[in-house]
């Protein structure tokens, strides 16, 4: 009984927090526009007239993309800086989203992405078994 009451109270709190969160979602405009998210959700069979839920999905996606991008950014920064030929050029290198960083970041999410660096005539062209195997 007690446990039930407590859980009931907790549930109420959780519900309140949830509603509060959903209300706060309306203030925050996700980067991905609502129309786009709604389109893709409709494509997959998700049906809901509530805008807050669509914003929730948009925010979740934004979080996902941001996580992946930040991981890739860390990989990019962790790479040693290129050799400075010009004395004016400082250590701040251009932060470019490259396929290498992305593939490394996505590895942790269980996605195997490999971008072919060149188009080869045969599968074994340019294959260096020691370095290319990752």
């Amino acid at each position: 009984m007690n446990h039930g009451q407590q859980s009931g109270e907790a549930k109420h709190e959780d519900d309140a927090a949830l509603t509060e969160f959903l209300a706060s979602l309306m203030d925050y405009t996700p980067t991905i526009p609502d129309d786009l998210v709604e389109h893709y959700l409709a494509k997959s069979g998700f049906q809901c007239p509530d805008v807050r839920l669509i914003r929730l999905v948009a925010v979740a996606t934004q979080k996902f993309v941001a996580d992946v991008a930040s991981d890739a950014l860390q990989h990019c920064k962790a790479r040693p800086a290129p050799v400075v030929k010009d004395k004016k050029q400082q250590k701040d290198k251009r932060l470019v989203l490259t396929m290498e960083d992305l593939s490394k970041a996505l590895r942790e999410y269980g996605v195997n992405v490999k971008h072919p660096e060149y188009f080869a005539d045969s599968p074994s062209t340019g294959m260096d078994p020691a370095t290319r195997e990752e």
Partner: protein, 351 residues
Amino acid sequence: MSLERRTHDGERKDPSSSSSSSYEFTHAAAKAAVAQICESVGYNHFKDPPLESLTGFAIQYILQLGKSAASFANLNGRSQCNVFDIVLALEDLSSGEEEERVSLESCSALRSVKLREVIDFVKISDGEEESPFLQTLPRFPVSYDERRKRMMMVPSFVEVGETPPGKHIPLWLPAFPDPHTYKETPMWIERGLDPRGDKIEQARQRRKAERALLSLQRKLVCRISSGGGGDRVWGDMDGGTVKEEIREEAESEEEKVDGVSVVEAFAPALEAARDEDQMAWKQQKKKKKPVGLSKLRGEKKFLGEPLDLTLQMKGEDRPLSLREEDRDDKRRRAEFILRQCMENPADLNQL
């Protein structure tokens, strides 16, 4: 934000998409949104292939979320999803470790780790400057859907107000197209009797023209027969004014029969005096020649001549001397003819 594009062959086309145009548009919009997110993370340059890949992943993420949420809702016997479905879908997609799984004791959604992460993310992002989608997207699902909807959403029977043919067709179904769209329906023939009426009208107008011509000729003849101001009569025979005068006179002297016979008598005289310019006009007059009169008069073509005479007597084409000679000649001839006509009163009664 600058996009460094490597050379690659065109855009990837999703073969499973229903319409490539919508796919391209949404893909481009998603790409812009993802690039914006990356920019907020810290990137300021992108290569195109990783950006494309990341966009594809984001789209797949949304699709998977929607799919899982929909299936969770269906499992619970609902067609519309709610927040718990989304939370469950979030949990489903994440590859969380065992300890972080949602506790089964309370079914509150906030127990979900993923949701908490999302909440934290929102709080953090709210703290930073909000970066909404920079470009204003048109209501694209509405526009192309609306076009399709407009094409496909025929108003139902209820909306149109028709009763469906057959009891087996419910009222909420789209209405049938109008019969004129698929079969040839008879067109209304509005002018059924008009050809006949037109002919009657035409004959009436012709008769009117005949009468007018006749009266004009009578006037002319009267003028000639009056004789006194011969020169003046001839000289004044202008096209318009003379006709009007003569019409007025002829109306009062309609009974004067002499004029008509004179007209007839004038035929040979006027034929001789015909000019080239009057040929065309004469032919025009001949066309208007009333049928009845020609029948009455037989072979003699006299209709156009007195009018030709008026034109002639304008004096535009001939020198003065010639004109005077002609006038004298004609006057003599006219008098002679008049005398002749006086002797034949029979013909006059026919008109």
